[in-house]
């Protein structure tokens, strides 16, 4: 099957590449657009490592075809912060040691960016529920929850 042109807005910039329609969006981002921050874990929508934002809301990149990104707005972990200039979510993860091997981290960061906007996250149970679609095989969940609790408190103007 032949390749098609795909034009999208990636982290605020218009980019263009060619791919077969069947290529998974996760592979397209990594191999064609060289944005390797989006990680590939299970490739069937279970682990959450490839979580991106599609037109503003989180989605599993492994459950999207490259062809579906044509005309879309896509945000990946590369759009959050840089090593020298961490995004507040990344800074909270660093402060709370919320990553060990780091493989699941990009997916968690993208999920946290969304749920801070959409979810009240009043209790740790609500935080755990909202994060339940992202798996960490180092099982470092406790520190991830602490990082998110810190971010929620900052969002809601709660002082420790």
């Amino acid at each position: 099957m032949s390749e098609i042109d795909i034009t999208l807005t990636l982290n605020g910039e218009e980019v263009r590449a060619r791919a077969e329609p069947r290529m998974l969006a996760s592979d397209f981002l990594r191999d064609r657009l060289r944005c390797t921050g989006t990680h590939v874990g299970c490739e069937h929508g279970v682990c959450g490592a490839c979580t991106i934002r599609l037109d503003g809301v989180t989605a599993r990149a492994c459950l999207l075809f490259a062809a579906q990104l044509d005309g879309a707005r896509v945000d990946t972990v590369e759009g959050l912060g840089t090593v020298r200039n961490l995004h507040p979510i990344q800074e909270a993860f660093r402060r709370h040691h919320a990553l060990q091997c780091g493989f699941c981290t990009p997916g968690f960061l993208m999920t946290v960016a969304e749920i801070l906007e959409t979810h009240p996250l009043r209790t740790d149970e609500e935080i755990r529920d909202a994060l339940s679609g992202n798996l960490c095989r180092c099982t470092g969940y406790e520190h991830i929850v602490r990082a998110v609790r810190d971010l929620v408190d900052a969002r809601d103007g709660v002082t420790a």
Binding site: P21, G45, T58, A59, R60, L63, G133
Partner: protein, 289 residues
């Protein structure tokens, strides 16, 4: 873990979508949360993918006479936060909280869930519980299928080749109807071992009308007509007795999610909790009024 090659078609109108579906081996792609994993595993290898995500006619949640019409392309997350559904059918948001996880609720659609017809899924159960009907379009025209006739077996529906589900139409419940949905799964977001939905309308402590539907316990979601009949006119305190033998005539599956025996034990508990919760809500609605 990569899908086989396919031809990709992206219609923007229902007419274009129906035309694109006129093919020996075409599959509709809506949210893709069930289809794409199956394609990645190569359990299915359609020759043509018809991506209906840009068909505006399949969107929207509107009042339509005595019913609410929910477009097939409505995402679970959109249904969960829709103000009209919150007012008319609050059980929808309660059920949606059980659908997988945040990112999957953002993509997955009602139409996709209905057509996939997993017996433990939330939308099929709601459709049967709420006496909803499913609006279907094809090149030949339009038809409507009642929810209880649509689900035939696991992953099998009454949808024919060349047909597209365009909406689900839910009749407006009578004023004062309380509703509840709950399920038990091994982990948050997993498929339900069993699920129950109920609606109850009270007059004082007397039950005027009760509906009870179960999911995950048979080949398709089902209503428990005998229990509903027994509850009509009964006292709300009789609910526990009425559902005590709810599992007696059922033969639930033994599978990786739960044993048949465990499901048999869950059924009366979930049924009682759903009905009692719905009754409590009906009673609260009466006080507010």
């Amino acid at each position: 873990m990569k899908p086989a090659a396919f031809e990709y078609v992206r219609p923007t109108t229902l007419a274009e979508a129906l035309a694109a579906l006129d093919h020996d081996d075409a599959k509709l792609l809506a949210g893709g949360q069930s289809l794409v994993p199956m394609m990645n595993f190569r359990l299915v290898q359609p020759e043509r993918i018809v991506d209906i995500n840009h068909v505006a006619e399949l969107r929207g949640i509107v009042e339509d006479g005595d019913a609410v019409r929910i477009g097939a392309l409505t995402r679970h997350a959109e249904a969960a936060r829709d103000p009209l559904l919150a007012r008319m059918l609050p059980v929808v948001a309660e059920a949606m909280a059980n659908v997988a996880h945040v990112a999957i609720r953002n993509r997955g659609t009602i139409g996709g869930s209905l057509c996939h017809a997993d017996p433990s899924a939330e939308w099929p159960l709601l459709t049967v519980l709420l006496d909803a009907s499913i609006d279907i379009a094809s090149a030949a025209g339009r038809r409507s299928e009642p929810g209880d006739g649509f689900f035939i077996a696991p992953l099998v529906t009454a949808l024919e080749d060349g047909e597209i589900v365009v909406a689900v139409r839910v009749p407006r419940p009578a004023p004062g109807t309380g509703m509840a949905f709950l399920e038990v799964a091994q982990r948050a977001g997993d498929f339900a071992a069993a699920a129950a939905g109920a609606t109850v309308r009270l007059d004082g402590d007397r039950i005027v009308e009760a509906r009870l539907a179960l999911g995950g316990v048979a080949d398709a979601p089902m209503r428990l007509a005998a229990i509903e009949a027994a509850l009509a006119g009964a006292d709300r305190r009789d609910i526990a007795d009425a559902v005590a033998d709810a599992a007696a005539d059922l033969e639930p599956n033994d599978d990786m999610h739960a044993s048949a025996d465990y499901r048999r034990r869950l059924i009366p508990v979930l049924a009682r909790r759903a009905l009692e919760r719905a009754a409590e809500r009906s009673s609260t609605l009466a006080m507010v009024k």
